[in-house]
Symmetry: C2
Subunit: 221 residues, 2 copies
DNA sequence: TACGCGAGTGTGACTTGGTCACAGCGGTCC
DNA sequence: GGACCGCTGTGACCAAGTCACACTCGCGTA
């Protein structure tokens, strides 16, 4: 990825004026982060607006008792909008972002970000849309955590995390962290799914046999 | 409240340039809404950026089973930032906002909002800070709903909702809606608090006797 | 006054989900 | 082989949500 054409990776930015795009490209740096890097976290505020070119970032909360809950993932072509909110408002960040794979990203300095917001309705729209999607997402998470049954949430997450052939390479502990619950709860639910013939499990691996049945459970209110 | 001096009610806006403040004041309308009005809700997008002058707005989610969960309240001097996010991004809103008291608010048209964002670093800062606070707040809610015990959350909420003399005028059902749980759960917890001599309850009323004890429970991790 | 009514509250039985303790299993590394 | 460690299984128990139903209080009305 050269420094001049990464803008093409962001549909929301492609139509930017040359005049606007120029400072964005010139002052931003492309950074590479190895898998496992903590990109931001409590007491570690982000210093720039991040746009992901390659890889995924997992944003999660960790409770005092050590239980984890995955809030969302940022994929290539998306911005880490919430980070920005906290950057802008100087608020303490309560979640952490982990590079789930090797990550290539564009770091836009705060000053450039501010200038772009001021001069480009296009860029504003890009940023606010990203905000909007994330916030809606947070509302959905609250609803699920507060009101949804664990079997329904697990079915959803399995379908979400499986590759095209219905293969999921995660341990029970990792699935528990996805949903913010305990490992034993996941083990029991997976056993029940297996008993019904919907999945087969082995060490660190789950294979989905009945997408239809899981999907039906996932869509049950 | 005249149409010319309401800007004074917002610390973040007081220092705006005359040149910037003028269109804000001229194009905005002051609106009055009676208590109980649904200001926005699923399938009912807000049409303007709202700044509260008087009263409070309660933002809550309602589950399919009818259980409710209060997300936050907007007080006088604050903006309904999240509403705006959804307004900007054209996203479907998943929560509803109810006027908890009679409400007086300034409605800033979308075009003026956009113009102000473009021309005033001050105003941008005001908006992003509001965003930031709300988002941090949403993270906190997720953490509490996912990981905190119900007795701790109830103690926190009682202290939060009590007036200066430790008086709370809410039914068990209303408290359950605050925390997104069931009425029976609240009844049992309140009985336990009363048994310990921390509160006294009667029909629709709770009086706190031991702020210290409740506070200690509320601060327990 | 008596009555019915509805909102608010109390309670027991049961289900679901989270916690704790511990055991077994299957790898890998000496 | 044996030690170790991460992953999984399981039973007992606790916390919280659900369901059903009874009771109380205040109020309006026959």
């Amino acid at each position: 990825m050269t420094t001049s054409n990464w803008v093409e990776a962001f549909p929301g930015l492609r139509t930017l004026d040359q005049q606007i795009a120029k400072p964005l490209i010139e002052t931003s740096r492309v950074v590479n982060l190895p898998a496992g890097t903590q990109i931001f976290g409590p007491g570690q505020a982000p210093q720039a607006y991040l746009l992901l070119l390659q890889g995924t970032v997992r944003v999660q909360q960790v409770s005092e008792t050590g239980r984890e809950l995955v809030l969302y993932r940022v994929f290539a072509g998306e911005s880490c909008a919430l980070t920005t909110a906290c950057l802008m408002g100087y608020e303490e960040y309560l979640a952490e972002g982990i590079a789930e794979t090797d990550v290539e990203a564009v770091a836009v300095p705060r000053s450039t970000f501010d200038e772009l917001i001021a001069h480009s309705a296009e860029f504003r729209r890009f940023v606010f849309t990203a905000f909007s999607v994330r916030i809606t997402n947070l509302f959905r998470i609250i609803e699920e955590v507060a009101f949804a049954r664990i079997d329904v949430r697990l079915a959803q997450r399995l379908l979400d995390l499986a590759n095209a052939s219905g293969h999921v390479e995660l341990t029970h502990q990792q699935l528990a962290a996805e949903l913010g619950t305990a490992r034993e709860v996941i083990s029991r639910q997976l056993n029940e799914f297996q008993r019904r013939g919907w999945i087969v499990t082995s060490r660190g691996v789950i294979d989905i046999l009945r997408h239809d049945a899981l999907g039906q459970l996932a869509n049950a209110s």
